[in-house]
Assembly symmetry: C2
Homo-oligomer: 336 residues x 2
DNA sequence: CTGAAAGCGCTAACAT
DNA sequence: ATGTTAGCGCTTTCAG
């Protein structure tokens, strides 16, 4: 019990000695674009292989090479949309040669305590997603020599960072149009209250199209984006004076809860009695028993743009703090 | 466009100068358990605060301090169970002062290419989860001076690593017992074929209890653990000679697909005509339209034990390569 | 308790 | 193309 693990590490000097060359040659061998004769390179590679040498990143970074680690400050991974985004992000980052390190927090206020930590690691970039970037975070960014990226948090005016996001206003518009096309006369929208205005943007786009069409809209705001919250919101909505015949849920998880309330608790038919649209297009939205019509976020595009921004930053040395809004798409299924 | 970001960093020397002390004092101030007079400590802290100093981790590690980064080699995060596990793991790791960095791969063979990368970072530990630890990975571990942890991959004989897992055999037993208690006469099990034997362990436990009870069991193996796979498996099962009246799906996602096949495609009632048990207890299993009876994996426990193992390793300097199997629990819902 | 000095392993001029 | 040298920012003896 308690197996001792060999702690000795093989250094470039060891390899140099074994290969009968200087340390520089070893370093160059492992630096792409450096000049080493084929003969010595082979010598070094063989020695390295035999000794099991791997360059020490800490030393490399300290010696002035850019670190290739990018921080990901994310909200709860129980959120299927975030998990998906993280998945795509790690793929993209890895392909581009970056190493994602995770700072997961449950609330925006948790994030504060993590900021100093992030600073210590001299990341190339840190990507913020799934939590509202408070003033605190914004201020932190402006003091760092790294590329700050805010991912999918909608329109943000006060943050100095590259802002890459789904166009949530547009998403809301698509939802409204779909519902209208489906014959909605009395729509409602349930949004979630969070610092970042993404749910509000969705709702605003929704109402905008409705206004244009001269249709009134009921709004309901809940504090969580959960199944429970969607369920309760639906029940509450059904008790209001004007029974809505079409509901736009701010995300799919809430739509799931709302649908169950509608069909199981209220005994209504969807889309017969009430039409429903969700948002995100998480896997559960496609489940046979739900098949929720929803607004699909461009996860892959979001991820690849974030990676591209970091690559650009490395090449140019300057952060391009542009805002990019990517249009989502309507996915028709069986709830409209 | 293209905002230049200030690249200058504040070093311990800067702080020392500003505080009128030597660099050593600054270092000690930031090393817990070092001796610095209250007066100078205050001086240093103030100067550090004013200049926005954060110790450079790369330098610290290079100078001999243990790195606090632990690698997580994980399978696809689209797997809700893995996402959940990762979520809990990052929380635990952070509380214990570790920094999780992510190596996400889609298949076990992808993992090979990542191994050298992991070596470069001199992690304290790396945790493998959601992919089958091939011989390649095993061999890699044995050469490293870090704590290797295999998380939730079942019984593994050939790997030199701490093995922390749900007791999948036990899980299978629970599933069988539940189905038997529900009156199953003609059960079936659908497992997934992967290198690591976890699905096979579940099925083995399942069959073991059935054998004891003198009940025959149909087995079906699929290549993916997806909704689609579960759906197709169910359809196939229904066409076989002996129509099963109880199905154990190797995971909840497959159970979801199977349930839809049962109710929507086959027009059968669950649990009236056929009983179903899943495995994992992912959020979707609890959805109103499904409410799958399932075997819940001890995610929190899994995560905390992994963290504890790393903490132990840091304290003792020796890796405790014990195998720990944690019992899952049966969660009765509406499909039995 | 404090400061001086010696590295940790690597890269990047700088001379060959 | 190669070797030599000087750091990167920090921790840690070692004297004082």
């Amino acid at each position: 019990m308690g197996k001792k693990i060999s702690a000795s590490r093989v250094t470039a000097d060891d390899v140099a000695r074994a290969a009968g060359v200087s340390r520089s040659v070893v370093s160059r061998t492992f630096t792409k674009g450096a000049s080493v004769s084929a003969k010595r390179r082979k010598l070094v590679l063989e020695a390295a292989e035999k000794l099991g040498y791997e360059p020490n990143i800490a030393a490399r970074v300290l010696a002035g090479k850019a670190s290739n680690v990018v921080g990901i400050l994310t909200g709860p991974l129980l959120n299927p949309f975030l998990a998906d985004l993280l998945d795509k992000l790690s793929d993209g980052l890895r392909e581009a040669g970056f190493l994602p390190t995770l700072f997961k927090v449950d609330t925006a206020s948790d994030a504060k305590s993590i900021l100093p930590l992030i600073a210590q690691y001299h990341m190339v970039s840190t990507i913020v997603m799934g939590i509202s970037p408070s003033a605190q975070i914004s201020k932190f960014f402006s003091g760092q020599s790294q590329m700050p990226i805010i991912l999918n948090l909608g329109v943000l005016r006060d943050v100095e960072a590259a802002n890459i996001s789904t166009d949530h206003f547009k998403g809301g518009m698509l939802a409204a149009q779909a519902l209208l096309d489906g014959g909605a006369r009395n729509p409602a929208v349930v949004t979630r209250q969070i610092e970042a205005g993404i749910y509000e943007e969705r709702a605003a786009g929704f109402r905008y199209v409705l206004d244009q069409a001269g249709v009134q809209c009921t709004s309901l705001q809940v504090t969580e984006g959960s199944y429970q919250a969607g369920h309760e919101a639906m029940l509450r909505l059904s008790k209001s004076e004007k029974h809505p015949d079409a509901i736009f849920f701010g995300n799919d998880v809430m739509a799931l809860g709302g649908l169950d309330a509608l069909r199981i608790d209220l005994g209504l038919s969807v889309p017969g009695d009430v039409a429903v649209v969700g948002y995100d297009d998480i896997p559960s939205a496609a489940l046979g028993a739900y098949r929720i019509s929803t607004i699909r976020q461009p996860v892959r595009k979001l991820a690849s743009m974030a990676v591209a921004a970091i690559v650009d930053f490395e090449n140019s040395g300057a952060a391009d703090l542009t805002t990019s809004m990517i249009a989502p798409a309507y996915v028709p299924r069986d709830t409209i």
